[in-house]
Symmetry: C2
Subunit: 379 residues, 2 copies
């Protein structure tokens, strides 16, 4: 297995871009990554595109816009973790020695494309309201009951991530919110209020992967290395699992730590899947940043803020940076690369050496089988 590094990253601002096609969003992100890597797009040997709503051969449609045509191009979908899954395939294509220089682009339009995630018609629970906000609400209610987690702790996640969104020019929301505003915003699924749910959004993110031994041939950019890339499937929020956790996220994280040869204590910066505030609290525990049930305390003690034990969702996270499904996993990696390079501007984490991304999606009824990805990076 060859060592693989990221030599370029780029993204569009996330937001509501009704009039902009996915080809345009994807092109802008790809050009940004190509320019950042200081490479000639003609040197790129393979392309991977993640999307949920982009239509057939979206990757081909996007990549021709930056002059990448003729080479192998694959389109990958894995619900909310599609971007990370495309990254995983791209990583394997270079690590396995099939290619030396690859581009990964994630893109989606959730506005104007029927892009929200409706329940399946056969999903009776979903059709009477047990959609994703409802599932997360039930899970965190149980968490509150068992571990004393409070609505104020949930609100603090939203406050933190909106605060960092203000510092990220690519974030969909660039406005701070207070605990009171979060708790008093419209109730979506008790206890989750509107400001605790990630928005629908449009956007794209891209990155360039290179084999370590050939990076100097293509670019002078400081490389950020891939320490581990893991994709798993599994059930969550089902009657036969502990709904206050997500077993397969813990399992993916454990495998990633093992491959990397480290543990949660080594992570300086983390982008995790805060589709709802509840998710961030639970993922602190799933990823091993604290013991089971202590997620709420972590946010109370500001240990996941910049300057704390581990800086979480410095991009603003899904809650504030936004969540165009297929783009999210790639955007998370873009943020980690910026942090590990020391190029994160006003939201820079001092001495960030090791970063982790986690994306989780595909919650389907009891019989479900979701998708989760955990990646580790180092400088």
């Amino acid at each position: 297995m060859r060592k693989v590094c990221i030599i370029g990253v780029g993204m569009t601002r996330f937001g509501k871009f009704i009039e902009t096609g996915i080809e345009d969003l994807g092109r802008d992100a790809c050009w940004a990554a190509i320019k950042d890597a200081q490479i000639d797009p003609k040197d790129i040997q393979v392309g991977f595109c993640s999307h949920s709503n982009g239509g057939r051969v979206a990757g081909q449609r996007i990549l021709k816009e930056v002059g990448i045509a003729g080479v192998e191009i694959l389109n990958i979908e894995n619900a909310c973790s599609g971007g990370s899954s495309a990254f995983r395939v791209g990583y394997c294509s270079v690590a396995g020695g099939f290619y030396d220089l690859a581009i990964v682009v994630g893109v989606d339009k959730m506005y104007g494309s029927g892009g929200l995630i409706p329940p399946n018609l056969e999903d009776l629970d979903g059709m009477v309201g047990r959609t994703l906000p409802g599932r997360y609400a039930m899970a965190i209610r149980r968490h509150m009951y068992e571990y004393g987690t409070t609505v104020e702790q949930l609100a603090k996640v939203s406050v933190k991530n909106h605060k960092y969104g203000v510092l990220n020019p690519y974030a969909q929301y660039q406005k701070e919110v207070t605990i009171e505003e979060v708790l008093n915003s419209r109730m979506v699924a008790d206890p989750l209020t509107l400001l605790q749910c990630c928005p629908a959004g449009d956007g794209s993110a891209a990155l360039i992967l290179c084999s370590d031994d050939l990076k100097k041939k293509y670019s002078n950019k400081k490389p950020i290395y891939v320490g581990a890339s893991v994709v798993k499937s599994g059930k969550y929020f089902t009657a036969d699992t502990d709904i206050t956790g997500m077993e397969f996220v813990s399992r993916a994280a454990k495998e990633a730590y093992d491959i990397f040869g480290g543990g949660p204590e080594d992570i300086n910066v983390c982008e995790l899947h805060d589709a709802f505030t509840a998710a961030e609290i639970m993922h602190y525990e799933n990823l091993g940043f604290c013991k089971k049930g202590e997620g709420g305390r972590l946010i109370d003690e500001k240990r996941t803020e910049i300057g704390g034990m581990i800086s979480v969702n410095t991009s603003g996270g899904l809650l504030s940076r936004g969540h165009p499904l297929g783009a999210t996993g790639v955007a998370q990696i873009v943020e980690i690369v910026c942090q590990l390079r020391g190029e994160a501007g006003r939201r820079q984490v001092a001495n960030a050496k090791v970063g982790l991304t986690e994306t989780t999606g595909g919650a389907i009824p009891e019989i479900g089988n979701g998708a989760c990805s955990v990646n580790i990076f180092y400088s």
Copy 2:
């Protein structure tokens, strides 16, 4: 790069199954492949699913039906060549040493799912009728003009492939047709009549990949080896290309032959992308089975029939076996494996040792960038 073999194949009959879900189709194909390989599904370490219309995380929904959950599962789309693209990713996952035992499933429902390929709203040519049949019709008209190809030669492709469909219990159509019936069927896009266009169809196909060094650990089945697996993108039927050929198919084939260490003269059986009779004639040339312009002569001389120089589309091809988009590339490989094992029953090609599959799709307007895959297998 490790040597990779196929140790199990399975598929559903292709057809019109309005009431059957893709989970059911996929499950049946996967079970068939698992039983054929004589393995325990719990040993499968990774799954790849190709589909166009299956909805989010279709692979996860299908594979849990055969007890495969928890492991890495990825969903891959590449228009008509999606099945071959998923195969390519599965092949790389084993060849690259990431996994030892993988399942690849292709599935689609074209009936009852809005599954046909409409032109994009922005595609003005397409909106006034230059859809896929029209594009192929224009291409073959030029081919007729330049090389003297005749409508009778086109019709003979349909006659041949329908004849073999009768011998394949999994084929959508199992009825012979005559040249007269083909030419007198309803005109779709002159010169292509209805019986020269592949049908809409529902179905699934699956296969099990294993690393050569570990195959005896899992199965006693006779292995069929992967000699080459290539995916390329490229333009076709555009004003700046020779519309009587498809440059990127020839390019993919050349690379596959080079990797395999052979040439078109080594191929005994071939499943190629006969979405229209015109395509089969042109692909004879694209794949190097004859010189440019001689495709029509090949069918006249029965050189692509069973017992001829190279047996093409013994499954019945897209024209008769059917073409559920995401399933097609996998179904092609299923047929080649049956032939190389000597298990193709009444349509068996004597002494078949080397087989090739070719799938091509994603034709979009002038600015397009389609997807093509060529795989070579040997016993």
